[in-house]
Symmetry: C2
Subunit: 222 residues, 2 copies
DNA sequence: TAGATTGTTAATCGATTAACAATC
DNA sequence: TAGATTGTTAATCGATTAACAATC
């Protein structure tokens, strides 16, 4: 009845291999780069070389979603980027609420790249009277006691959890109760949510652990 | 001569499959959980069930590093956790400097879980006169102009980049120049660093894009 | 047209899972 | 001892890469 966010290498997601989906954001980033440099066309060979992957893989991946190129020419950067935007569901004005107005919550609330991709922070909540009412950039921190009330009036797609670990699960429960469709969790804990809720865990320390492993290997090699 | 941080599904890392290494931090998290609950022993079947993976995979993964269990009994939680700590190079007092004292940098500087795993923030730097000299928790923000000087006196293993995207590359260059062994990059840009430098990219927006993809699929299904 | 490059099928390679002998 | 569970070899499955006909 419950699911976890750790199905890293699980196999399908609506018939598309998980490995393919995980690469979409990366394609997006490299294409954005080219687009910023006003490059007009790119071949699978060129783009794959930039990314350090195999051109066949790139074509195979795109093939899951349609035919976006042209034989003998390659891909128009703007067009392909647009397709990936569409596939990823970007630029749709998806709304989020952030629970936890600590440094991390504030960092996210003011993260310019979200707006760039069509995400909008509808509100920031906290339970600390010291923080409630304070305005940071465009956002006034609201009392988390009013979370349910707020979401009843303003439906929001994504609940972002940047609270201390101890309260993350109870906040998740309240977000689910209030009807969010997805949870983006920054607390280092395995949340339990109903099957229908999309759960994405931002594993900050996992990234550091991986780095630590490599560092360790390097040191051992010396 | 340069490398990238996106070799997500690349194959080997000192003979160990990359897929295995990516699971180590996850094992660590689940074992910490058990340890916190003072569970003494766990079988591969139990642990794998908790994680939603296959018990064979767990045993296979561990098998790359040694034999940590006991037939008919399973694994002693404390012991296995200790082994994974060791494999990941945790609790070795690895030092870091943080460049960029914005919300994100401050969030990291005060992230209690780092200390918990033996990482130590040696200093925080910024170039904003408004921020320099300000003390947040244990850290006084220092002038980034003095970064090289600081690192010459106090060698540090990891440079953490939480600056705006535009300056991330030049900060990376200076960190490499000053002798850090690894860079943990939070700016959404593909840094170029020499082969010998370990580079770990924290892809905050990639995680959000993945979530967005799933949300999109869900909506389409309605 | 000739050259280039896609989209896709087939071949390879690696990772996951199953099975089981060893043994606590 | 009998039952349980590891560590590891072998089988399966899926993902990556190669190859190439289609075609711009």
């Amino acid at each position: 009845m419950e699911h976890r966010s750790d199905d890293h290498h699980k196999h399908d997601l609506n018939g598309i291999p998980h490995s393919t989906i995980r690469r979409l954001p990366v394609y997006h980033r490299y294409l954005s780069d080219l687009n910023r440099k006003e490059v007009e066309r790119v071949s699978s060979r060129e783009l794959a070389a930039k990314m350090g992957i195999n051109p066949s893989q790139l074509r195979q991946d795109l093939g899951h979603f349609g035919s976006f190129g042209q034989q003998g020419y390659g891909y128009r950067v703007v067009e392909l980027l647009g397709e990936i935007d569409r596939i990823l569901g970007l630029n749709q004005g998806t709304t989020m609420v952030i629970i936890g107005a600590g440094h991390l919550g504030m960092a996210l609330a003011n993260y310019e790249h979200f707006t760039e991709y069509g995400f909008r922070v509808a509100a920031v909540f906290d339970n600390d009277p010291q923080k409630i009412g304070r305005t940071v950039d465009a956002h006034t921190v609201q009392n988390v006691a009013e979370l349910g009330e707020f979401l009843a009036k303003t439906p929001v797609a994504i609940g972002v959890i940047t609270t201390p670990t101890e309260v993350a699960q109870s906040i998740a429960d309240r977000l689910v109760e209030a009807g969010v469709k997805a949870i983006w969790n920054f607390a280092p804990v395995n949340l339990k949510v109903p099957e229908r809720i999309i759960l994405e865990h931002m594993h900050i320390s996992e990234s550091l652990f991986l780095l630590s492993y490599k560092l360790q290997q390097n040191n051992a090699a010396d």
